[in-house]
């Protein structure tokens, strides 16, 4: 295990920022503009893959840009968790861009350059969060992500979009400034360090009350993770165009929230502290458990496809938080694996939702009768995506849920086992009727969808690619487990 001083992490972050600049400059030539994105995405992916063998050997790639405060630097460090998250975000950037082209161009949507520009900046920020070596750097990119995604949420610039955007910023900026920032400053003031370290930064004998207060501030402060009651920004953000909901509100933004919580729990508090202080572990598990069940129940009541998917996302994010809260090896491994698994499943569902809307203008589940026969490709992709989110084989979701369930049995919080199972049943309950209606029920009179036909290739193919990804993840889950294993090795001592 070596620590390697390397500039590559910075290059990875910069590629999409440079792409953003080019996008802004090439706004007048759409084809050129979008080829920039693909070139940047491929370079980025290549750079990330070049880091993978080393990281799987246990190496850490580090780069310190500058010291901004005593003992607090703008610094990057690539470990298995960060690399895995970056790989997921960047690899899904490519299908999403294809999808965006397919969706926005026929509509002659306004401000496409702004759209792609902000998108590229958001990707840079997400990767910045993934590679942060300390809480300070993480916070910096976390805020950059909130700000760069605001124009994407309000893309339509109508009243609904403005309202959704307002809620989005109020929740995300409000919680991070009012809770996460002071918590971070208190940690710095008490310990003098914000670096993520095995075993955390707190000295033995730090008062439990303080730890509990800080923990709650962090959990709610990173509201991108959607812990209740700070979750309503996510359904509100569904006013955004489909690609934004797909990549940002199923993968990049929400996972950044969860990722930040993972970093805080493992690197600032430390897994041992969590495991040995029952009150801390219980708080995390209970908050996540409540969110998990309640979000799934609300999802059942939603008729709008995107709203249902949003509540489903809120629930699935809490799987990850609950997995970390268990503070056992397989729980953490399961949580780590759930990041890519849920990402592929949920992005497929969102891309399909966008495609369905484009094909026939349907937004609601009650309109789905017989849709499967009209647009079989899209609905098949939707089916595979929902299997992945429910956690059934042969999709990746099965693997991560397997580890999460094992983790809950090994921990002191065995009730979590029941919570996971109940929620999976609820997941099935809110996805499968949808698929059933589409394939097996006959069209109702008022909604015949006679004109409905498969949407253009540019929108269907990305959904099929990610759906295929869901299945491939199942068969290659061993490779992914190596990442999770390395991360666990680094942060869990026992």
């Amino acid at each position: 295990m070596d620590t390697i001083h390397s500039f590559t992490p910075v290059w990875v972050i910069l590629t999409s920022s440079v792409a953003a600049l080019l996008i802004a400059l090439l706004g007048r030539w759409p084809n050129l503009r979008e080829s920039c994105i693909f070139v940047a995405a491929v370079i980025k992916l290549g750079l990330l893959l070049s880091l993978a063998p080393g990281v799987l050997d246990g190496d850490l790639y580090e780069f310190e840009v500058m010291e901004l405060l005593p003992n607090v630097s703008l610094a990057f460090r690539v470990d298995a968790l960060g690399l895995l998250f970056a790989l997921v975000s960047v690899s899904l950037w490519i299908p999403t861009t294809i999808f965006s082209m397919g969706l926005l161009r026929p509509l002659k949507s306004h401000a496409q350059t702004r759209f792609f520009f902000c998108f590229a900046i958001a990707i840079s920020s997400a990767v910045g969060v993934a590679f942060s070596a300390n809480l300070f750097t993480l916070f910096l990119f976390y805020e950059a992500l909130s700000l760069s995604t605001y124009p994407l949420v309000t893309h339509h610039q109508d009243d609904d979009a403005i309202k959704g955007g307002r809620k989005y910023l109020t929740y995300l900026l409000g919680t991070s400034v009012a809770l996460a920032l002071p918590a971070m400053i208190i940690v710095y003031q008490k310990t003098g360090s914000l670096d993520f370290a095995n075993g955390g930064v707190f000295a033995d004998g730090t008062s439990t009350t303080l730890l509990v207060v800080l923990l709650v501030m962090f959990l709610f402060g990173f509201a991108k993770a959607g812990l209740m009651p700070f979750h309503t920004w996510l359904p509100g953000a569904m006013v955004a165009p489909a690609p934004v909901s797909a990549l940002l509100h199923a993968v990049a933004v929400v996972k950044v929230g969860v990722f930040s919580i993972i970093r805080v729990l493992t690197g600032i508090f430390g897994v041992d502290l969590l495991a040995n202080t029952p009150s801390l572990s219980t708080i995390v598990c209970v908050l996540a458990g409540i969110t998990l069940i309640v979000a799934s129940l609300i999802a059942l009541t939603q008729d709008n496809i995107k709203s249902r998917l949003a509540y489903s996302t809120i629930g699935q994010l809490s799987y990850i938080i609950l997995g970390i809260g268990l503070a056992t090896k397989s729980g953490i491994a399961g949580a780590t694996l759930h990041i890519p698994m849920h990402a592929f499943g949920k992005i497929t569902l969102f891309l399909c939702a966008g495609a369905i809307y484009q094909a026939c203008g349907a937004k609601c589940i009650s309109q789905m009768h017989g849709m499967g026969r009209k647009i079989p490709l899209t609905m098949t992709a939707f089916f595979i995506g929902s299997l992945c989110v429910i956690g059934l084989p042969p999709t990746g979701g099965f693997v991560s849920k397997w580890y999460l369930l094992t983790g809950s049995l090994n921990s002191g919080q065995q009730w979590a086992f029941a919570v996971f199972l109940t929620s999976s049943l609820l997941n099935a309950a809110y996805f499968l009727p949808f698929v059933y209606k589409a394939f097996f029920s006959s069209p109702s009179d008022e909604a015949k969808w006679e004109s409905a036909k498969e949407p253009p290739l540019l929108t269907v193919v990305p959904a099929l690619i990610t759906a295929m990804g869901c299945v491939l993840l199942f068969f290659f889950s061993g490779k992914l487990y190596q990442f999770a294993d390395k991360f666990v090795e680094l942060y869990v001592s026992k």
Binding site: A111, T154, I162, V177
Partner: protein
């Protein structure tokens, strides 16, 4: 030559002011270049002093080299340059220079035909502000306080409409503040027989705390509070700076209040001492509550305003609360935050008023409702505006983030949680205002790129205004990135030594 630098800092703008007043009579065109030259000389000297003082420590300059300098009670006129004021001198002269460059077009349009003495007054104001920052004598501080105040009354009265009334109101309040200050100085002088800051700082700790010393302290404090518009003495500021000509406001708003904060820091920690402040156990919590109230009220009133200038004025009032609170926390991070914020806030307010000035120059006024589509009309200005607001909110890596960082750290160390809450609240309120402006300026208008919507012609402010605005805005980021250097080489030596050991 380097020995003369401290006096050159003030002489530059002072001579420029006198000459500009005369040339305004004979050759009006000459006064502008003269003032710019004077400010440039002053800025260069101040910048050089930062490095000299950081390397060699404090410098004392004896005006005319007269007086009994080595006597226990000094009579000569002393100028002191140390780590606490070099930064402020550079900030004041730098911002004044940049604003003078920026203001030319603005003055030509806003004060058309009446601008004859404007630049002379501007230069005189800067002389006063620099004088407050550099003097080593609490009575001379009063003199410079009045020079700065008198010239600012005139600069504000240049405006139209309610400017006269606002200026008169300011004059009454400002004079009361100056009287309180002078009265306090009187108490201190009667007790100790000297006005020299170095002498006083040597004597006060050796004396038993007396009633006279305490009354003097409180009077001086009240005096500077009125001058800096600290809550609840803030009433004069919003009207004065809103109705003043934009060019006057652009130089007054960032500098005048900040220099008064510096005077408070100097009185608290050099004339009096850290131990004395810590001994005031009855007053310290009250001042901290007042600071919190200043931040909360400033934020609240900024939310209720519909005029961009008015909003910016209430920002100043809440930012004053930051600095007074930071100073009265009287611990290392709190004081570091207050001193750093002195520079950071001057820069942020300057950038904010420059951007508002550009908007006013093109739109004629700055009511929020007039801002529809302003992002399409003036993209560069609005980009600068958004970055400046981000700095005021405290988005990293701008300087506003780091001052907040230190202040919150200091408040957490002292356990003053209401101050932490107020700082965060103020950030959130500024965020609300920024996004309200984005909604109005960007979203509430039919997007010109959509076919069929009317095009919005670009109508950017002239380059002579735009370049200083953008430079100042970029400065906010540069300042943020330089925080560690600034704190570790300069501010660490400005904080009372007892705190840094």
């Amino acid at each position: 030559m380097t020995g003369q630098l401290p006096i050159i800092v003030i002489l530059g703008p002072l001579l420029a002011a006198i000459l500009a007043a005369f040339t305004a009579w004979l050759r009006p065109k000459l006064s502008y270049p003269l003032v710019v030259l004077g400010l440039a000389i002053s800025f260069t000297a101040a910048l050089k002093l930062v490095f000299i003082v950081a390397d060699e420590g404090a410098k004392i300059y004896w005006l005319g080299n007269w007086g009994n300098q080595n006597h226990e009670f000094v009579v000569g006129i002393q100028i002191t340059v140390d780590n606490l004021n070099t930064l402020l001198l550079t900030t004041v002269s730098g911002i004044a220079l940049l604003t003078a460059l920026y203001a030319k077009r603005l003055v030509e349009t806003e004060l058309a035909g009446r601008q004859r003495y404007f630049y002379a007054l501007l230069s005189l104001l800067v002389t006063g502000l620099l004088g407050i920052s550099i003097t080593g004598d609490i009575f001379n501080l009063y003199v410079f306080l009045e020079i700065a105040a008198l010239s600012s009354y005139a600069l504000i009265a240049y405006g139209k409409g309610r400017a006269y009334m606002a200026s008169f109101n300011y004059l009454i309040m400002g004079t009361m503040g100056a009287c309180l200050y002078l009265l306090g100085v009187g108490f201190v002088f009667i007790k100790h027989g000297t006005l020299n800051i170095d002498n006083l700082s040597g004597i006060i700790p050796t004396l038993d705390p007396s009633q006279a010393l305490f009354v003097g302290f409180v009077l001086i404090l009240l005096g500077v509070w009125v001058k800096m518009a600290f809550f609840p003495f803030h009433g004069w500021l919003p009207n004065a700076y809103t109705h003043a000509p934009t060019a006057s406001a652009a130089v007054l708003a960032p500098l005048a209040t900040k220099v008064a904060v510096y005077a408070m820091l100097r009185i608290m920690f050099t004339v009096y001492s850290l131990d004395y402040i810590n001994g005031l156990t009855g007053i310290q919590p009250i001042v901290l509550y007042l600071s919190t109230a200043a931040i909360v009220m400033g934020s609240f009133f900024s939310l209720t305003q519909t005029n961009l200038k008015m909003i910016a004025c209430y920002f100043i009032i809440s930012e004053i609360g930051y600095m007074v609170g930071g100073a009265w926390l009287a611990n290392r991070p709190g004081l570091t935050g207050a001193m750093y914020h002195l520079v950071a806030d001057a820069a942020m307010t300057s950038a904010l008023f420059m951007a508002i000035g550009c908007i006013v120059y093109r739109l004629g006024q700055a009511q929020l409702d007039d801002l529809k589509g302003v992002f399409f009309k003036m993209p560069v200005t609005m980009a600068a505006f958004v970055v400046t607001m981000a700095a005021l909110i405290g988005v990293p890596p701008t300087c506003g983030f780091f001052s907040k960082w230190y202040l919150i750290q200091g408040a957490a160390e002292a356990g003053v949680w209401h101050f932490v809450a107020a700082l965060l609240l103020s950030s959130l309120v500024k965020a609300i205002i920024l996004f309200r402006i984005i909604e109005i300026g960007y979203n509430r208008v039919a997007h010109p790129a959509i076919e069929g919507n009317p095009a919005i012609p670009r109508n950017e402010a002239p380059l002579s205004m735009l370049i200083p605005t953008v430079a100042m805005t970029l400065g906010l980021i540069a300042l943020g990135l330089a925080t560690n250097t600034l704190v570790n080489t300069i501010i660490v030596n400005a904080v009372p030594a007892a705190l840094t050991q």
